[in-house]
Subunit: 202 residues, 2 copies
């Protein structure tokens, strides 16, 4: 198996598809096939959700339609547009903050968008694709451009495609595509008995 | 490969580990090994997060320590305690709503807990384990019992273990362990050009 400086180096064995996932800044000039794209959203579709509400929704645009692509790109903050414009597929991750049936608030809505996008990202990794998620979007611009209803929160941007050559990036971003981002040890986030007390699993 | 009524029946091909994931109500009376449990949290550790903040944390208890197990169980709403008490491992998913370095609000905190728990759940599936997540917890009880700091939100419960015999469940829950939960078609949550307009991927 090929390795990459961005691949995870876990302390305990985990599935290799989890170690191969990372969030590129450099994307290759190569389209994503419709079949692959469908399977990515199909993967999101089968995520778990509170009361099976499936509160997530995605607005998606590909470079096959340059006008639509530009429109979606304009919903990202400028600092993300710089690199995300190279990805062949962009999406906005949205979530319905209320249950469709009752109108009551769904406390899991944002969390469950995360479950769906993780599932999408996992399927992307299976297919040699990468997903770079961003919280840096302009929600009110997205709401206006796409007529997103009140009660639905546009939350994340997703750049989807094949990893590209980091040398094509501005220097500051290039480094981020070449260096592993560190992780906290388990003792700092898996607790037992009391907050902050390392659980007996590490 | 064995199939199960709860396995996903996707319209488009997705990785079989995604089709095998579901959320059991019945858990087998069989412990989860420490090695497996460590790998589950290791999987969560390598999830993506906004600014690499890794805002998630888990409080965990196993039946190896009955007192601790009961304490964690008491943080679930009664309707969840009924079945979750059979799982060998319980956890609470928490997230820090502010960036540790700056103290500024982290808009991705709840979403990124979802990414981490999805990764944990994926690794569980690899190992023949199942995770049933719940939004039905008593956050203020958890905060008090575990001294969870202000600014950290206890959000989810997680029951972790091997799937058990649905016949051991009360009738109402038994059915939920035997019937596939339906999913929306892609046309209802993957949009292009405008909210509600099916994207050209289905």
């Amino acid at each position: 198996m090929t390795t990459h400086p961005k691949h995870a180096k876990p302390d305990r064995p985990i599935h290799e598809l989890l170690t191969r996932r990372w969030s590129p800044y450099a994307f290759a000039d190569r389209p994503v096939s419709d079949d692959d794209l469908r399977s990515l959203f199909e993967a999101a579709r089968w995520a778990a959700s509170s009361y099976n509400e499936q509160p997530w929704a995605y607005l998606v645009a590909t470079k096959a339609n340059p006008g639509e692509f530009e429109r979606l790109l304009s919903c990202l903050v400028e600092g993300n547009q710089v690199w995300a414009k190279a990805a062949p597929v962009l999406a906005l991750g949205c979530t319905n903050l209320h249950f469709a049936r009752t109108g009551q608030p769904n406390a899991a809505a944002v969390h469950d968008l995360g479950l769906a996008s993780a599932s999408l990202t996992f399927e992307a990794t299976v297919r040699g694709l990468f997903v770079h998620q961003m919280i840096g979007i302009v929600p009110e611009r997205a709401r206006e451009l796409y007529r997103i209803p009140a009660g639905v929160q546009p939350l994340t941007g997703l750049a989807i495609g094949y990893a590209g050559d980091p040398n094509a990036l501005p220097e500051k971003l290039r480094e981020r595509d070449l260096v592993q981002r560190p992780r906290k040890p388990l003792s700092q986030f898996v607790f037992g008995g009391e907050w902050g007390a390392a659980a007996n699993v590490d």
